[in-house]
């Protein structure tokens, strides 16, 4: 198992090149799921293939150092801002963390004044069941309407022009500990939404609402009998471990599946050619593995479902009987790769357990899986059975702290999505380098309260840097170049046709690097840490703009946005110990920054 622990201490912020870019024949985005860029940014993933690749190329490595601030906007909120701004034909839409205001800014006028504000007024008590900061991962524009979720479990559609509410559907119940933080995906007339609350002992599901009326068309649970998981005759998992009747019940102690987690709070991708949606399922509850013997199906895995009726087509469980809270909800980038002479439709998954999966998206077969960060909790993936082989002397044990488990609970990379550039064929991964001490204990279930059962302390992994921005060659499963960062890189990535990659750091630096060799070309110090999705759009004046919202928070930044006391290393489920110095490096905030080249 390759574990690249750097021997010498590498200067932070500067790129280390490991190999050359594959010439010519490399991965490309599927045309159906990734249409030509029209200058807008209508969904967080940019397109259904979740490439986060902007086709605009005015900004190039040559001129990016002259990027200048065009205008700013304060969202009046101070929690973690993880969402991207949306741009649709001259209007920018911003969805903020709790209390989830929706702003519309008129880009045609100077300084982008506010057109309208929509206030959904979610229940204040929902802040008490949001495990990792009261964040929102983005809204979506489709057919004249803006769709977004509120923290207290509602999905709302608002008319893009007038800002009037079209419909609102209550899906989650905060009394059971359910919240919704994910960005919906709108495809084929359906709005796909999943719940959050794996740490609160909820039962995970994904639901599809009708785009026009907001009525629930189907809901698929991630635990329980096959009927409720919408597993029928079409379900053909590639590996034997995922085959069986009612595995959602059999692989759990009795009744434990009802409070077994498996939430959907991450990213959904859609392939129009096969009309299949792909999404990852969160961690089983509680974190203490001894309390839920069995594989705990269908948690920490990837589902492929038919969009219309939600019927499951295949499933692959990344970490059966998950040991370290490695939710498998990360982004699923659809791509076509050269495979002995032909084009093979695959999906790239830089997964939380630390392995970069390349899987055939028609059957779920794992073509290759290699660690892109330091991993000692697992020995590797057995390609015959598809099963992750754990390293048993790192198994958590009730009543005894297990030390030095890498990657830590947030994984080698958490929810913050990477970007894929069809031009360079590389995947740009913003990720962590953290290890942890894990003390499991018996978890007591009271609905609406945390159901975790573990004390955790995280700290920097080998090399001492807590994060990195890595360019990864998915074909040869090799690191092309990597920029070690002092703090965990919790911001999503953006790569443009101009050959520039953008990402932000938790202490507020917004950086542009050359997509080919990772050389840092430009950086800007924002008012607060950046964990939001940068975007690139063509403004009304035809020029290319880069926009990002700086507002530290999320699980990594909770120590700042949650006003925590660094004296307790187990705070914020263990993350406080890894970022004790963050309160001295950034304050909370919520400011939009838009950059462009001077005229």
């Amino acid at each position: 198992m390759t574990a690249c622990n750097r021997s010498e201490k590498q200067p932070l912020g500067s790129a280390e090149v490991y190999s050359t870019i594959p010439a010519g024949n490399h991965a490309v985005a599927p045309p159906g799921a990734s249409p030509r860029d029209d200058g807008n940014w209508v969904m967080p993933g940019k397109d259904y293939a979740a490439t986060r690749f902007s086709g605009l190329n005015q900004i190039t490595p040559a001129n990016v150092d002259k990027l200048a601030l065009s205008f700013t906007f304060s969202t009046a909120t101070t929690h973690g801002y993880e969402a991207p701004p949306l741009v649709v034909n001259g209007t920018m839409y911003l969805i903020t963390p709790f209390p989830n205001y929706l702003y519309a800014l008129d880009l045609t006028k100077a300084g982008a004044p506010i057109k309208w504000v929509f206030k959904p007024k979610p229940l204040a008590a929902s802040q008490g069941v949001a495990c990792c900061d009261t964040v929102n991962r983005g809204a979506v524009f489709d057919a004249g309407k803006i769709f977004f979720n509120t923290l207290d479990g509602q999905t709302i559609a608002v008319d893009a022009k007038s800002g009037q509410q079209v419909w609102r559907t209550q899906l989650g119940d905060i009394q059971k500990g359910e919240t919704i933080t994910m960005a919906p995906l709108v495809a084929g007339g359906k709005v796909l939404v999943g719940n959050a609350g794996g740490e609160m002992g909820v039962r995970g599901w994904i639901a599809a609402l009708d785009e026009d009326s907001g009525k629930l068309t189907w809901r698929a649970f991630n635990t329980g009998p096959d009927k409720e998981v919408l597993i029928g005759s079409r379900f053909k998992p590639f590996y034997a471990m995922d085959r069986g009747k009612d595995l959602g019940v059999k692989t759990w102690p009795p009744e434990a599946w009802k409070i077994g987690g498996g939430t959907v709070w991450g990213w959904v991708s859609y392939d129009p050619e096969t009309n299949l949606i792909y999404y990852g399922v969160g961690n089983p509850g509680p974190w203490n593995p001894d309390q839920r013997p069995g594989d705990n199906k269908w948690t920490t895995g990837v589902f492929a479902r038919d969009l219309n009726n939600g019927e499951a087509v295949w499933f692959y469980q990344t970490t059966p009987h998950d040991l370290f809270d490695h939710d498998d909800i990360n982004e699923i980038i659809l791509a076509d790769i050269p495979w002995n002479g032909a084009r093979r439709p695959v999906m790239f998954r830089p997964a939380r357990a630390g392995f970069f999966y390349v899987q055939d998206r028609r059957t779920g077969q794992v073509l290759s899986a290699a660690p892109f960060g330091y991993v000692n909790g697992y020995r590797g993936v057995d390609l015959e059975t598809g099963r992750m082989i754990p390293n048993h002397d790192k198994d958590p044990k009730e009543g005894r702290v297990v030390r030095d488990i890498c990657p830590a609970a947030p994984g080698a990379k958490d929810w913050n999505p990477s970007a894929f550039s069809p031009l360079t064929g590389l995947v740009y991964i913003p990720h962590n380098n953290l290890c942890m001490d894990f003390g499991a204990m018996e978890a007591n279930y009271i609905s609406g309260t945390p159901y975790v059962g573990a004390d955790v302390k995280m700290y920097a992994g080998p090399g001492g840097n807590r994060g990195a921005f890595t360019a990864w060659d998915p074909i040869h499963q090799k690191k092309v170049w990597e920029i070690p960062e002092d703090l965990p890189v919790w911001s999503p990535a953006l790569v443009t046709a101009g050959g520039v990659a953008f990402y932000g750091t938790m202490d507020g630096w917004f950086k542009a690097v050359d997509a080919r060799n990772g050389k840092q070309l430009w950086q800007f110090k924002a008012g607060s840490g950046i964990i939001g999705q940068p975007i690139s759009y063509r403004g009304p004046d035809g020029r290319q703009y880069i926009a990002v919202v700086a507002g530290v928070g999320g699980w990594a930044g909770a120590i700042v946005s949650g006003k925590m006391d660094p004296g307790d290393p187990t705070g914020a489920l263990g993350f406080a110990n890894a970022v004790k110095d963050l309160p001295m490096k950034t304050t909370a905030g919520g400011m939009l920054y838009v950059f462009t080249l001077p005229r």
Partner: protein
């Protein structure tokens, strides 16, 4: 020039000093010598003199009286426990209070009665038995008593203030750890251990040095009385055993006070670390209590069978091998903790091997009775009671040494029966016998024989009635330390019998105390050697004068008084105007040097008060450790400050 005058003036001073020296010798004998010695060795009057004494006899008496008070207090607790356990499902005493009762009963009996009373009797008798005038380090001896007294006061004051310990006398972690014993209860228990271990270590050092260096000339190791051998082995065992409990109680206090993780299983500490360290001290502790009792039995048997103990070298070897083997079998207290079964096999074998030396000792006592003409006064009755009772305890000990049997019997009332048989039978009976035997030497009066006999039969029969049924309550499934038990398990009858027996034993102890107090005033006056015994303590007056012997006797055999019907040969030449004693070589006891004996001083008391404040305040705050040490240092420096720097008129080494 002034150098010459200074040396000459110094020589004149030395000459004047030398003229003042007075020695005991042929010229100075009899009443005049006694008066001069009395004036030199007497302690200053009044309360300050009382607190400053370094006379081993006064310190010995205080040890014995304090230990007997704690025995009575512990006994009252035992009665309360037996009242609560007389009937099933009774809640006369609440669970919390009962848990405090058995913790205090155990801790008081083991730490505040058993070890100190043996130390006390030894500190009183050993110098007399060895024919010397004082123990080595008499001030350290005083310090050891005060530490023991303050330790006992700390524990019982806390018990009275409702912050007494409730974790059992061996306080297993994690129950005694910070999370499951809130407040200061367990800290106070652990600090009491610190007090008593310092006191026991100090007394052990005093005894070892006295036995090895201060014997009468001619008393070679082979002629040393068996009681002295027993105390020597016991003292060496203390020195090897106490550090283990010092370590584990210190670690417990640091866990509870500053949050270290010695016994925190989740941070890779280990709950069994406590048990190993505690029982490494624990088992030698019970032999530390039992060996002096074997010494008592040898002394009484020798005197009342009118002949020395049969096969003296065998008994000495038995004592020494018991002392060594005792350190090798502590894991038989932990047979149920899941350690590897093969390891347990070694400890079963070791626990059985330790029964052999004791078995041989018992044979030798019985052989002495067989060959001698035993006279059954009260002490000898206690020896017979000892043999009848202790052997039962020893045999049940062999039974629970086997792993399969101990897994059923461990932590049940069978064990309670076993250790009361070996501790009360094995140590308290000989103690009561020896107190009756040495009472005339200590007080100058005889205890009443009839009260003594009644007391013996009362305690003997009461003991059997109390503790024999406990074997059955153990086999019937009654665990230890339960504040009540359900009806219908067959435990009612044995518990009722035990409770009745307990009151009889209490009555017997009360009778013994009454006999002791009454005889102080109305007892027959005791001649120097009322029992016609053979050892040297009977060669001086009863009660002995402060200087013990006008002249240090010479010993030529194991039973000096029997082999010299007339006057004992003596050694002369010790100073009369200064407190001085004779040191002899370790093995052959040939005169080695004259040793000045320290004078009464308050510093041991002040040092122990400073140490007590240091220990008690470090229960409440870690800062008391660095701050509290300063007064102790000052007191110790003042204690050891040399009296005068001028040259002594007479070189000590002849």
């Amino acid at each position: 020039m002034n150098e010459m005058t200074r040396v000459r003036k110094e020589d004149e001073r030395l000459a004047r000093e030398r003229r003042k020296i007075v020695r005991d010798g042929p010229k100075l004998t009899g009443a005049e010598l006694d008066a001069r010695l009395e004036r030199t060795w007497r302690r200053p009057p009044g309360i300050l003199g009382w607190l400053a004494t370094v006379d081993h006899k006064e310190i010995g008496r205080r040890y014995i009286v304090t230990a007997l008070l704690f025995l009575a207090a512990g006994g009252v607790l035992a009665l309360l426990m037996r009242i609560q356990l007389a009937r099933p499902d009774s809640n006369l005493i609440s669970a919390q209070r009962y848990n405090e009762l058995f913790t205090m009963h155990g801790s008081t009996m083991m730490f505040l009665f058993a070890v100190p009373v043996m130390e006390g009797v030894a500190v009183y008798i050993i110098p007399l038995m060895l024919g010397t005038r004082s123990t080595a380090f008499p001030r350290l001896n005083a310090f050891s008593y005060y530490m023991y007294l303050f330790g006992g006061l700390l524990l019982w004051a806390a018990f009275m203030l409702n912050i007494g310990p409730d974790v059992g006398w061996f306080a297993y972690t994690p129950l005694s750890g910070p999370q499951f014993s809130p407040g200061k209860r367990a800290d106070i228990w652990a600090q009491m251990i610190t007090f008593t271990e310092v006191s026991a270590l100090a007394a052990a050092v005093v005894l070892i040095c006295t036995i090895l260096k201060a014997r009468a000339p001619g008393m070679t190791l082979a002629r040393m009385p068996l009681f002295a051998w027993a105390m020597l082995v016991q003292a060496v065992m203390i020195i090897f055993a106490m550090p283990a409990i010092a370590l584990c109680s210190g670690m417990l206090i640091s866990d509870r006070l500053i949050g270290t993780n010695f016994y925190n299983a989740s941070e890779h500490g280990d709950a069994l670390l406590w048990q190993h360290l505690f029982w490494f001290f624990g088992h030698p502790e019970v032999y530390i209590i039992f060996l002096p009792a074997t010494g008592f039995v040898s002394v009484i048997t020798e005197t009342f069978c009118r002949r020395p103990i049969f096969a003296y070298p065998v008994v000495v070897l038995a004592l020494v091998s018991t002392g060594i083997l005792a350190f090798g079998l502590w894991v038989h207290h932990m047979f149920a903790t899941g350690l590897p079964r093969v390891g347990y096999g070694f400890y079963t074998a070791a626990s059985m091997t330790v029964a052999i030396p004791t078995g041989l000792q018992i044979f030798c006592w019985l052989a002495t009775m067989w060959e001698g003409r035993p006279r059954f006064d009260v002490p000898m009755l206690y020896v017979v009671g000892f043999i009848v009772t202790f052997v039962i305890g020893g045999l049940t000990g062999v039974i629970i040494a086997s792993v399969p049997l101990d897994l059923q019997l461990h932590d049940t009332y069978f064990i309670v029966a076993h250790f009361h048989y070996v501790l009360i039978g094995g140590a308290v009976f000989p103690l009561l016998g020896i107190l009756t035997y040495w009472y005339p030497k200590i007080t100058g009066r005889m205890m009443s024989e009839t009260l003594g006999k009644i007391g013996f039969w009362l305690i003997f029969l009461g003991f059997q009635l109390t503790f024999f049924p406990m074997h059955f309550s153990g086999l019937l499934g009654m665990p230890r330390r339960v504040y009540t038990y359900p009806a219908g398990l067959g435990l009612e009858l044995p518990n009722l019998l035990s409770s009745i027996g307990a009151f009889i034993v209490a009555a017997a102890v009360a009778l013994f105390v009454v006999n002791g107090l009454m005889s102080l005033y109305r007892g027959a006056l005791a001649p120097p050697n009322p029992w016609g015994a053979a050892s040297l303590e009977w060669a001086t007056a009863s009660p002995p004068p402060p200087y013990n012997f006008p002249h240090v006797p010479i010993v030529e055999s194991r039973s000096p008084l029997w082999d010299h019907d007339g006057e004992l040969p003596v050694v002369t030449g010790l100073r009369v105007d200064e407190k001085e004693t004779l040191l002899t070589t370790v093995v052959a006891a040939t005169p080695d040097m004259r040793e000045p004996v320290p004078y009464p001083s308050l510093w041991p008391l002040i040092a122990s008060v400073a140490t007590a404040i240091f220990f008690i305040s470090s229960i409440f705050s870690p800062w008391a450790v660095p701050v509290g040490v300063i007064p102790c240092a000052i007191a110790l420096i003042a204690w050891f400050w040399p009296k005068e720097l001028k040259r002594n008129p007479e070189p000590v080494i002849t």
